[in-house]
């Protein structure tokens, strides 16, 4: 039990791992918080499914530095996003903006879900409710008889 607990604790301790080095962190905590928010939503172009905060790549470190430099210089978050999108395209954002080109990305899953639901509805509607013929008078009489016999016992 103790071992399991220790393993769990160690696993949790590994979660906040990020590639940010101590010397990159800004002394102003408010700016650093903004830098972390931006860092999470910016893609490292080298290891493409990691954010720049998670990536050890050289370019990711350069981009983290640029984000912090611009924050210190007084840029707003959208200005910094625009700066990077101008150089690397929308792909640099892990949270892509809604545009005609990204519409499939945004609405694709919902459309697929709707199509699936429509398929289920059509399938259920078309299927006959039951293949068993309805009971006629003779059947009902027989059921009554059988049940009555059962009660006597």
């Amino acid at each position: 039990m103790k071992r399991l607990l220790l393993a769990l604790l160690l696993a949790l301790a590994a979660l906040p791992a990020s590639a940010i080095r101590p010397d990159e962190i800004l002394s102003d905590p408010a700016l650093e918080t903004r830098a972390r928010h931006l860092g999470k939503e910016l893609r490292c172009l080298v290891c493409q499914n990691q954010s720049i905060d998670d990536s050890e790549a050289d370019l990711a470190r350069d981009l983290r530095k640029i984000v912090r430099e611009r924050l210190v210089a007084g840029d707003s978050d959208p200005e910094i996003r625009r700066f990077l999108v101008a150089r690397y395209g929308d792909f640099v954002r892990l949270d892509p903006p809604l545009r005609l080109a990204t519409a499939v990305l945004w609405f694709g899953p919902a459309v697929m879900l709707a199509l699936g639901l429509l398929g289920i509805v059509l399938f259920l509607r078309r299927r006959p409710a039951s293949d068993v013929p309805a009971l006629d008078e003779a059947d009902r009489a027989r059921i009554e008889r059988v049940l009555a016999e059962d009660d006597k016992r």
């Binding site: 172009l45 493409q48 370019l59 640029i66 150089r87 690397y88 792909f91």
Partner: protein, 173 residues
Amino acid sequence: MRWLYLAPVAIFAVVAGYFAVGLTRDPGTLPSALLNKPAPEFALPPLNPDKPGLATADLKGAPVLVNVWASWCVPCRAEHPILIRLAREVPVLGFNYKDKTEDARRFLAELGDPYAKIGTDPTGRAAIDWGVYGVPETFVVDAEGRIRHRHVGPLTDRVVAETIRPLLKSLAR
């Protein structure tokens, strides 16, 4: 409702279509965000005292290739002979990325120097303005200084024959 029997076929066709496009594209190769836009403002100091550096003004007048390279980059070594051949057809300008001066000079002394001009970007900041995310990268810049193409990764004979040379031919007209 007989058409419904065709539904699996239609679904297969759509899925196969997605895979046909998706699996043949290289997700590591991004189109340049600067495509058909003017090259960014930049000015890089020279690598050698006897050869000029590289700045925005050098890109105007005639189509050129801008090759981002580094001595520590292995694929750069592979594409180097192709650059030397290309340099006979079009000015090839060198963009030395995050390199040590000595190493870069030794690289060129060993393999030959195809570059008409070489600018050095030791911090990689100018490269970020160009949207560079790895070396080597090669840009085709037209006579007005606009970026017309970006090739990510080492140039190959096939890329030169199928993309670079036809584009340069159309730009020369």
